[in-house]
Assembly symmetry: C2
Homo-oligomer: 457 residues x 2
């Protein structure tokens, strides 16, 4: 069993009337998306039947159980599978980032690989070879359990014919620098490699495939997370070319890549498997942990603590400071009219904001959301906002986020600090550090993006 | 009776399944905050008793009824008072902006003045003289009805001793240009003039005072709207000086103003009347129309139309495009999990966003909120967002706002337009104009800031 996530602590949380409840609510959220627990909760063995959501399979009719765990959370996810006593694992492949490997293999038949991240490297190719070896000679009476988490796209790389690793590395660098979304980056990857965009499921056919997915992409789009190796791909070669044009990357793109995409668009190459492809009749994909799971667990705990729970969104995106201002706007409405939810209110927003860095300060998305809320929350009695990166690391700092209350502005002014100055420098870290309001948790082993918890008892 | 506000029309509203309902919902919102109707709804005559909210007064015990209407909506507000047949108006003063005067006086005893706006001028001083004359010799058996709306701060100006009109004009210009909030601008005004920050109520004492207020400031802060002439003032001379320092305006501030503020801070001058001052025992302040009234009327109509209504906030502020992205994030959550409110859902956000202009395009706050939502709403079936300036004028355009649906992005692409390009140029007007999705209403005579209506049948 994994350790419980550490407590959320700070001056404001400590001195807040219901700070203990806030801590328990966030703890519930993080525990719900712990990769080990998430997989454990999703797998149900009943006699010889293995149930995963609405899917099930009779293990007595299965010749071999294979496991493929890929991504930053691969180790704890596979550990949960290995902990199932009656699941007869025949062979497993674990591919993760350096530093994320397990202290010891959870099963003698598990091979461990590390790959490059966020830019793939030679090791990523070797991991792909191991996957191809694992999936060779699959039969209908084989069961492949896939355990997929963020980072999988880079960790497991297998260039299509005619494409070199160096081409992919170059393109990945271009895409990461130009501001392309993860949807766009992975659309390219799916059309330049052989295991992404449903192609891994094609390789495993005719085996039964059950994929348990930990989502690190806002909205849990199955076809995007780790480039959707077991998921029908709605994108096309044409889409991939459009993206290169959108960011004016065509002149910088390696010729072999352009050639492949053009040939694909001309239907000279096979597309990735599309929605409706009969191949997916044997494939079950299930998100076992994502922002919504964390939010639901938080709100359930909040209700148990006597709060009226309300989820505003798990799709929060856009500039961090503006998200903070908006959360304050909701708080003011609760204070003045009991809308959108009456006190005692617990409002939750999840997602992943961005910070357009213009200053030379220190901070992270969540700290900047919190700083953006300071002015708007000022003076509201009995109001606490906690902004937290669920992986425990917010930006290039040692903090996971920050806490704000209606008194934060007054405390800051007393300390001679003005939020606007710190926003201008993107220096939320030093603002909250001076107030004792940074939240420091150890790494949580999971990542379902960010949570903003507003408590108004 | 004022005419009903015009219908909301556009390609997307017309072709949307429940576009008719959207029109009725917004019509209900605008009607609820029509200044004439708002005052009419707030005043209740029962025999000889005049009721305004929880306040009432027996007109039989009243010697004189005086009326002072100041602000951009002064004419229709005073018209509603004059329409009360049994209210014996003795004398009235109406102060409004040029172009906002009534076609004919609603009562023979009403004097009409115009003043400068947003920078006060000589006419503003003459209006102040008329107010002082109106309030001379008030007795406890006099009743003063104040009808206050936005713009009142500049339209009615009476410099304190030692301050010249030119000083106030210069400072107003500085404050408007430096990005100071209306809270800050009015804190200065209240400490440099003789009728603001509760001082008008002091002048009217010992008369009974009932102030009916149409709010054009987010959150309806009574002490800010029209600089709160009848409202206890929580701000101080010290606050006023702090604001000059915050925006580095001290070196540019006229010396007479600095001298007064410094003397005030040193307690050599009387402060504005503060909360708790017994003077306010005879004063009743009531917001008769504001963003919340419009929102409530909209949601009530939405419920009658079969929608589940939810008010997220009436305090929406911050950069317009980010507000749009956030509204889209809420829409996606409704589509995926029925939170924060299940379908058929009507979600409302009110407030006043800002646009940081960086391009040379055409647009307004509401059009830019709508444009900021286009990408996030893309593909959502049966989803309509309408962003509307309640005064009917959004930015320097002939439109009041714009409409977006889940199909807008596809329609834009077909027309060769990308939202990001138009956002970069702050050119929302031409984006929506090309799609036939600008909303054009006539001036509505009112202003309770902006509304964003999200309908998901």
């Amino acid at each position: 069993m994994p350790p419980a996530p550490p407590a959320i602590d700070s001056h404001t949380v400590r001195t807040f009337g219901r700070g203990d409840a806030a801590g328990r609510i966030l703890k519930a959220a993080l525990q719900a998306v712990d990769p080990y627990r998430a997989v454990q909760s999703a797998l149900h063995l009943s006699g010889s039947q293995l149930h995963i959501g609405s899917w099930y399979c009779d293990l007595q009719s299965i010749r071999r159980v294979l496991a493929l765990a890929v991504g930053k959370a691969a180790a704890p996810m596979l550990e949960a599978v290995c902990a199932l006593p009656t699941l007869p694992l025949q062979r497993g492949v674990l591919i993760t980032k350096e530093g994320h490997t397990p202290p010891q293999p959870c099963h003698p038949a598990v091979e461990i690989y590390t790959g490059g991240h966020p830019v793939p490297d030679e090791r990523s190719l070797r991991a792909a070879d191991a996957v191809r070896d694992l999936l060779a000679d699959c039969r209908p009476d084989d069961l492949l359990l896939c355990l997929i988490s963020g980072g999988g796209s880079a960790l497991l790389t297998s260039p299509a014919e005619g494409i070199r690793l160096a081409d992919l590395q170059e393109l990945t660098g271009l895409l990461l620098r130009c501001g392309a979304t993860i949807h766009e980056i992975n659309t390219l990857r799916k059309h330049l490699e052989t295991l992404k965009g449903g192609n891994l499921a094609r390789l495993a056919a005719p085996a039964q495939v059950a994929a348990l997915i930990l989502s690190d992409v806002v909205g849990d789009p199955l076809e995007v997370i780790a480039s959707g190796p077991t998921v029908p791909d709605p994108t096309t070669f044409g889409d991939a070319l459009d993206i290169l044009e959108r960011y004016a990357l065509r002149p910088h793109t390696p010729p072999a890549i352009l050639q492949r995409l053009e040939e694909g668009r001309a239907a000279l190459l096979p597309e990735t498997p599309k929605p409706g492809d009969p191949l997916f009749a044997n494939v079950h994909n299930q998100v076992v942990a994502g922002n919504l799971h964390a939010a639901r667990a938080a709100l359930q705990q909040a209700q148990a603590e006597g709060f009226h729970p309300l989820l505003i969104t798990t799709h929060l995106q856009g500039e961090a400071r503006h998200a903070g201002a908006l959360i304050a706007a909701i708080a003011r409405q609760i204070a003045s009219s009991g809308e959108p939810v009456p006190r005692p209110a617990c409002v939750l927003l999840g997602g992943e904001t961005t910070v357009t860095v213009q200053g030379d300060g220190l901070g992270g998305r969540n700290q900047e959301v919190a700083l953006g809320a300071v002015e708007g929350l000022a003076g509201l009695p009995n109001t606490l906002l906690i902004c937290l990166a669920t992986d425990g690391g917010d930006g290039p700092t040692d903090a996971a986020g920050a806490a704000v209350s209606g008194e934060t502005l007054a405390r800051a002014r007393q300390a001679g600090m003005r939020p606007a100055d710190f926003l201008r420098r993107n220096d939320a870290y030093h603002f909250f550090d001076a107030l004792g309001d940074l939240l420091r948790t150890a790494p949580t082993r999971t990542n379902v993006n960010d949570l903003a918890l507003l408590l108004m008892p």
